[in-house]
Each structure stands twice: as C-alpha cells, then as structure tokens.
Amino acid sequence: MKDETLKLLRMRAAVMAREPVQVNATGIILDVITFTLATETYAIEAAFVREVYPLNDFTPLPGVPSYILGIINVRGEIMPVVNLKKFFNLPEQGLGNLNKVIILRNDNMEFGILADDVCGTEAISTDAIKPLPPTVSAIGEVYLMGVTRENIIVLNAEKLLSDESMVVNMGGN
C-alpha cells in the first residue's frame, strides 16, 4: 500500500515535472501573465499588470480610433480599454471570447487590453525569448520582446505603455 502510494506520487511527479529554466549569467527571469487572443498565446510582464478585470459591460466612445474599444467602470474609476488586435492590425479572424481586461500600468500611463482568456502566470528567462522572424508576425517589432520555445509571444509592456501613437489626442474642430 505504502509502496503503491509512493509509486503513484513518483509517477505524478514525473508527469508534472518541467525542465528547469536555464539561467545563464545574462538571463533575467521575467514574471509574466499569459493570455490568449484569437488563436495565439501572448505573455506580458507581470510587473506592469495592475489587475485582471472581467469585462461585463463597456461604453463605446464616438469618433475614437477603432482600437479603442471604449471605457469601463473599474470600481468607480474610468478605464479605457484597447483592442490590441485592432491596434496591431491583426487580421480579423475568428471570434474570441474577449471578456477579460488586463489592466497595464506604469507611472505615466494606465489602460486595459482585451484578452480572450487569461491562462496564468509563468516565469520565463529572457534568454529563452528569441526574436520572432519578421515574416511571422504582423505586430510591429518594437512591441515584441520575442517568442518563447512554447510559441508564446512576449509583448513589450513598457513599449506599449509609453507609445505616444496609442494616445488619443484629438484636436478641437
């Protein structure tokens, strides 16, 4: 009985074991949040994620660029929500759930991005992130840190947050 339990535990351990992350002298471990958008899995550095908020309702704004989904109420605070698919001009393929908002923030900027599903958190080494061949991705290189062995596309949160071209600043008429 005892042996069997042990055997079972070992088996489980074998199944769940992962390759240890290779840490080289140059590699930095990044804590990321992974999420899906249409058919792809993305990751974004957790240090820039304030929270994940369910999207139950939103208010569209007239006249804004199409990548602005609208604004939502996050516990009494107004939060703009960006549809990255539109911002990156990704082909409008498939119909996702798009019912999660990942709220990104740094000192100067704060907004939510739409996600189909949030998978969880992971620690990845910057060494394991390889640049994406430009032909593969339609997303501008500047917004990407690269892709991992598991084909997770790692977004550059800092770049997104400091990108002036995302800021909506419409002059008067």
């Binding site: 900027m109 704060e110 907004f111 008067g172």
Partner: protein, 763 residues
C-alpha cells in the same frame, strides 16, 4: 475702488500676519533646538533652516511694506548667513539676544499696522545694534570660545531656562497669542484626498437613490400581485374545496407579510438615503468651502505684470480689477490663471496701441485694461477682460483664417460677425503681423478656449472697431458641482451639461424648415440649425429604435425631442431620441490614454454602475455644423424602405455580442440581443424573430438547450437557429445538429462574409 483697495490691503495684512507668525514660530523652535543640540553636524542643518525662515520673513515683510520688521530681520539674516558660512559660532549671550529678538518680532507682528511707541523704537535700535555687534565680535573671537558654550549647556542649563536669563522678562501673554493661532495652514495635498472622498460619497448617494427606486418598483409590483390575488379570491369565494381555501389564505398571509417587510425596508432605506444625501451634500459643501479662495490671490501679481510688459513695448497701460473679493474654487483659480495672463497679454499686444497711436485716434495716451469678476447666476462666475484699444480687425481675421487653411473662401463669404470673431479661437490663427515672445504664434487663444472648456466654461469675444475688445468667460464657481441631463440616441446614452442646456422641447416634424440645405427651426426669434446628436457625433445611422416614449405617443403625430444647447453666443437645436432625467453627476476623466476626445469631455458613472460619456458642448456645436453639411450630400440617395428581417443574438461575451450586432445591423437586419440563454428564450417567446444566432457556452441556459426549447415549441419550431461556438469537437457538432440547429459556426474560423451568406440562405 478705494474701499475695494483698503479691503484688499486688509486681507493681505491678515495673510501676512499668518505667514510671518509661522516663520517666526519655526525660527523660534529652531533656536530651542540649536541650544539643545551638541553635535556640529546637526547644527548646520538647523542653522540652514533658520536662515531660510528669516530670509522668507524678511521677504514677506518687504512685500507688504513692513519696514520695522524688515530692518530687524536684515541684521538677523546677516548673522545667520555668517553662521552658515561657519565664520562665527554662537555664544550663550547670543542666544539671549536671539530670544529677545524673536520676542520683539512677535510683538511687532501682533501690532502690525499700529504705530510704534518711542520705547519700541529705542528697543528696536538697540536690538539691531547688538545683532550687528554680535557678528563683528564673534568674528574676532578665537575658536576656543566654542567650548565654553558647550560645557555651559551640558552642565547645568535646561533649554527652557535660557529665556529666563534675559534682562527683560518675556511677556507670557504674547507668547500665548502666538501659540493659539486660529488659522492653520494645511498643505493642499492633504485637502485633495478629502475632496476625493467627499466626491466618492456622492457616488454612493447616487447608487443608493437608484437602489431605493428599484425597491419602490418591487414594492409596487408586490402590491399589484396582492391586489390581483384579492380579486381572484373574490371571484372564487364560492370554492368548496377546504384545502384550496387554506392554501389561498396562507398565500395571502405570506404576501401580506412580504409586503409589510418590504414597506418597512423601503421606509428604512429611504430614511438612510435622505440622511446620507444630507451628510454627503453638507460634507461636500464644507470641503468645497475649504477650497474657496478670493480672486485677489490670483490677480495680485497682474498689475505689476501689465506695467512691465507695457513698458517693454513702450506703451502706457493701467490694469483695473473689479470683484477681486469673489471666492472661487482654488482648482479653478489655478487653471484659469494662465488663460487670463494670455488674454491680458493679448490686450497689450494687439489691443492697445502706443501713446502716439492712441492720441492720433483721440484717445487718452494711457490705455486701460479692465478685468471684472462677478457672479452671473447661481454657481456661475463671469470674468471679463476688456481693453479700450483698436478692436479686432475682422477682415484681417478672415484673411488669416483663409490663408492658414482653417476655412475656405466660399465659407468665409457667408460668415456673420460673430462667426468671424469666433475664428480667433482657432489654432494657427494670428492677426499679428510679427511674432513677439508673447503672442503672434496663433496658439494663445485656442489654448485659452481649450482650458476654459475643460473647466466646463465657455468663452466669447465682442469687439467694436476703434472702441475696444471684450473677452467674456463663464465658469462654474466650483468644479465638483455638475448637473447634467441624460439623453439617449440610438442605443447610446450621453450626459449634456446643464449649464449648456437652454431648454428641452418637443416639436413636430413640420416645425422644421430647410434653409440652404440645412434643417433649421425657429426658437424665440432666432433661426437655429437642427442636427441630430447621432449625426453630430458621427455615430452610424441606425434604423429607428422603438423606445418606451415613442411607443407611448403612438396615435398622435410623432413628436421629436429637441435640446437647445448654448455655448458662448452660439445656440443650436439638437435632436435626441430620448430625454431621461436631470441629475447631479460626478464627472471623471477618461484616463491618461484618452488625453482628448473630440466632443467628449469626460464620463460619469450612473447609479446602476453604467458609464456614460459627458458631451463637450463647444466641440459638439462645431461637429454639428460640419455634420449638417455632410448630411445634405448623402441625403439625396435615400435608402428605400424595406422590411428588415429580425435577428436575435444570444451571446454572453459583450465584445462578441457587440461585434455580431454591428455586423448584422450594418447588413440591414434589425437586431435584438440577449446576454444568456434564458433571456434569449424570454425574448423569443415575446417577439417574432426570423432567425436566432446563439453562442453555445452561456450561463443559465446554453445554446443546445435553447435550440431544443425552440424546436419543441409548436409556434416557434420553424425559426432557423445558428449556433456559434468555440467548441470544436465532433461530438459538440453532433449535439448541435441533434438539438435541431440549422447551422453550426466555429468561432476560430469565424468570418463575417460566411456568416452573412449563411443567414441570407436561411431566411
């Protein structure tokens, strides 16, 4: 003006007294600290701080012309400057002198404005002499002296004893007066969270009112139920079934109990609501009072600024300010400062000419700029900035606007005076032929307009050639008080700021007349352009939405809801589908990402938690005029009226739901949405739909169950059902077909063309 000036002087004096007392208190406690502290390192810090205090005190005294104070502060400052540079050190005797000086200064502050007695004057001269002496003496003393002081303190004297060694004992009453200050200075950073909390209270209050109204609805529903059950019992009173009667009675008693519980609860909630409402309002008012400052604080520096700028341009200009005792929200004062400076500079630069030019036009060589502050109506302040200069040259404005490409020449010809003048608020427009460091870059006035509008205010300009120009700004007195009207257009709702709403009316279609291809209507004696809110905002034209109110009006000719908006001198009639209630709302920013959105100034959260954008009326007016022009072009190709097919979309994800709805509506279908299977079922039973498009994975009732229900209902079984899902397995596909779905679409391979083609085939 005289009384206003002396009023102002009094206020400045009072402010000075508070400030001076503060500096002196800080200086005095520094002195105590200095006596207690032994290490040289900490001395340096204390001396530095004390030096700054005395320096500020001297500066403040000089600015309000307190010569006595200044004359004592001056040697004191020199002494500390020498200490700072470590040229001298303090001896016990110096401490006595310093305490005596502090005491003298505090008396001077308390008596400021009064005449000094000869004894005081003598006292002052003595102090100054001794201070000067201390510096020169200390400089000649060998460094060894320092030791004496340190042992002196370390062995016996407690700091509190030291003042007792002064030759003249201090007057305790004076000391008390300083300590018992009735005014406290609080950093604004501590007030801001207070205001934020007070405003959050407001949000709770709004939610509570919403909940109270919901409960009122529930109570009335229960009452109806009760009445119905009484009626029913009345009809069946003949029933002989004893068991039945018992049930009926038990039902009735439960219902009574429920009703009385609910009524009690409603009563309690209403009471709490009223209490909270009162507290929240009082609290907010009190906090806002904290933030009210007289205009004097804002305009203090303006006259000097005008003198300097006009001197640089070899002009003679005097600034008159009226109403500077009016109190305005500090945050508004801060925001309006730059715009006012812009306007003043504009008057100096463009309005008022050199003395020679003025004399040529039979004007006094001294130019005049007048700035007035007055309360317009409740909660609104009017600020005017006027000059008696040459006025605005309209032909030059027009030429400049055409040149900069702001307007075309055809448009330019049609503009009336007011419209021409409003051009000066466009960016890139300047009538000044040369660019100075003040104005001429053509940005100033557009920034002024922007700032004013961000404060929910408006700006207009009037001018008389050769007589002068007046800028008129209307602003709310405080920032937080904001009332708005909730309106609906299509399926979106917006808040219109009440300060821009002149009236809300209902008119018939025949009240409109078309003038030069623009729809207009007569209000009072003005012809106002009429534009629908939907068009002005550039929202996609939707087919008429059947609303509660338009249903109620069926039978008579359809009435159209018009909101007359006013901004500055401009008025416009805006068509909306629905006008809900007027509300106190809390306006919030749109977030850092949305720095400026045309037509939208912010957003508010309704009691139900829904976010509603707040309209920027000045923007909207311009957008409306442009939209009106566009409309006539597209109006010629009116879409033939066809009976559109009705589709029900059941989908729990808001984004997918909105996307599907938009795709289908653009294709010309009438779309109703449901957020889950059970809501969809309820809607299907009520309305006649031509097709149902449903997600599979939904709460309450999933797509398979919904399909089965439809198929099993005799009246509905023929409705085509399209299931749409992320489930891809063969098994699910079979389940869908089994349930009776006509088609099955996979989300991942979703394509709008395929969907529309499929729907066309099925309907």
């Amino acid at each position: 003006m005289d009384t206003a000036d002396s009023e102002f002087l009094k206020r400045i004096q009072a402010t000075y007294r508070i400030e001076a007392e503060e500096h002196l208190r800080a200086f005095s406690s520094g002195l105590m600290e200095l006596e207690k502290t032994q290490t040289k390192e900490s001395h340096a810090g204390i001396i530095e701080a004390m030096f700054r205090e005395i320096h500020s005190l001297k500066g403040a005294s000089r600015s309000v012309d307190q010569k006595e104070m200044e004359s004592v502060c001056h040697p004191l400052e020199n002494l500390f400057s020498a200490l700072k540079r470590m040229e001298i050190t303090l001896r016990p005797a110096s401490f006595d002198l310093l305490h005596k000086t502090v005491e003298f200064l505090s008396r001077l502050i308390a008596d400021s404005g009064k005449k000094q007695s000869p004894a005081d004057l003598q006292n002052k001269r003595d102090l100054i002499q001794q201070l000067v002496l201390t510096i020169s003496e200390a400089k000649n003393t060998p460094p060894g002296e320092e030791q004496v002081r340190q042992t002196d303190i370390a062995t016996n004297v407690s700091p509190a004893d030291i003042p007792l060694r002064t030759s003249t004992p201090p007057e305790p009453a004076r000391e008390l007066k300083l300590a018992r200050a009735e005014v406290v200075k609080i950093p604004i950073s501590k007030l801001d969270p207070l205001l934020f909390q007070a405003e959050e209270f407001l949000q709770t209050k709004i939610s509570l009112r919403h909940q109270t109204n919901n409960l009122i609805d529930i109570v009335s529903e229960v009452n109806e139920w009760k009445a119905e059950s009484v009626r029913r019992r009345g009809r069946h009173s003949m029933s002989v079934d004893a068991q039945w009667n018992e049930w009926e009675e038990s039902d009735a008693s439960h219902l009574n109990k429920l009703e009385s519980h609910l009524s009690a609860m409603l009563h309690a909630l209403e009471k709490n609501h009223h209490n909270l409402e009162r507290i929240a309002n009082d609290h907010l008012d009190a906090v806002k009072q904290l933030l009210m400052l007289p205009v004097a604080f804002l305009v203090e520096a303006f006259p000097a600024m005008v003198r300097e700028i006009s001197r640089n341009q070899e002009k003679e200009i005097e600034l008159m300010i009226q109403g500077s005792n009016l109190e305005i929200d500090k945050r508004i004062l801060e925001e309006i400062k730059d715009p006012l400076i812009h306007l003043i500079r504009n008057c100096i630069d463009h309005g008022i000419g050199t003395p020679r030019e003025r004399l040529q036009h039979n004007k006094p060589s001294l130019g005049k700029i007048t700035m007035t502050f007055s309360v317009r109506e409740s909660g609104l302040v009017e600020i005017t900035v006027s000059d008696d200069g040459k006025g605005i040259d309209k032909t030059r404005v027009l030429a400049s606007a055409v040149k900069s490409g702001s307007i075309s020449e055809e448009v330019a010809e049609k503009l009336n005076t007011d419209e021409i003048l409003s051009l000066i608020f466009l960016s890139g427009l300047s009538t000044s032929p040369i660019i100075t460091n003040l104005s001429g870059r053509g940005l100033g006035l557009s920034i002024v307009r922007e700032k004013v509008e961000r404060l929910n205010g408006s700006i207009s300009v009037e001018t008389l050639e050769k007589e002068g120009t007046t800028f008129r700004i209307i602003l709310p007195l405080t920032l937080a008080t904001f009332r708005g009207i909730l309106v609906g257009t299509g399926d979106q709702r917006f808040i219109l700021p009440i300060m821009n709403v002149e009236r809300v009316i209902r008119v018939k279609a025949e009240d409109f007349t078309t003038l030069e291809n623009h729809e207009t209507m007569r209000i009072d004696n003005d012809i106002l352009p009429v534009v629908s809110l939907q068009e002005a905002l550039g929202l996609p034209e939707r087919r008429a939405v059947v609303t509660r109110s338009s249903l109620a009006e069926q039978g008579g000719p359809p009435l159209i809801r018009i909101v007359v908006l006013v901004s500055g001198q401009k008025r416009i009639a805006i068509k909306v589908d629905e006008v809900f209630d007027e509300n106190q709302v809390l306006v919030k920013g749109l977030g850092k990402l949305l720095r400026r959105v045309r037509n939208i100034s912010g957003a508010t959260i309704l009691g139900s938690g829904t976010v509603v954008p707040v309209i920027n009326v000045a923007d909207l007016m311009t957008s409306a005029i442009q939209a009106g022009g566009r409309k006539t072009a597209s109006d010629s190709e009116t879409i033939p009226e066809t009976k559109s097919a009705k589709i029900l979309v059941a989908e729990d994800s808001i984004t997918s739901r909105t996307l599907l709805k938009n795709i289908l509506e653009t294709a010309g279908y009438l779309v109703t949405v449901a957020i889950d299977g059970s809501e969809a079922w309820a809607r299907i039973k009520r309305g006649a739909f031509d097709l149902v498009l449903s997600d599979v994975d939904m709460p309450k009732m999933n797509g398979f169950e919904l399909t089965k229900k439809i198929r099993n209902d005799a009246g509905l079984s023929k409705i085509p059902v399209v299931l749409i899902t992320s489930l891809e397995s063969r098994e699910d596909f079979e389940r869908g077909i089994e349930a009776g779905a006509d088609a099955y679409m996979i989300k991942n391979s979703f394509d709008q063309g395929n969907l529309l083609e499929l729907i066309r085939k099925l309907i």
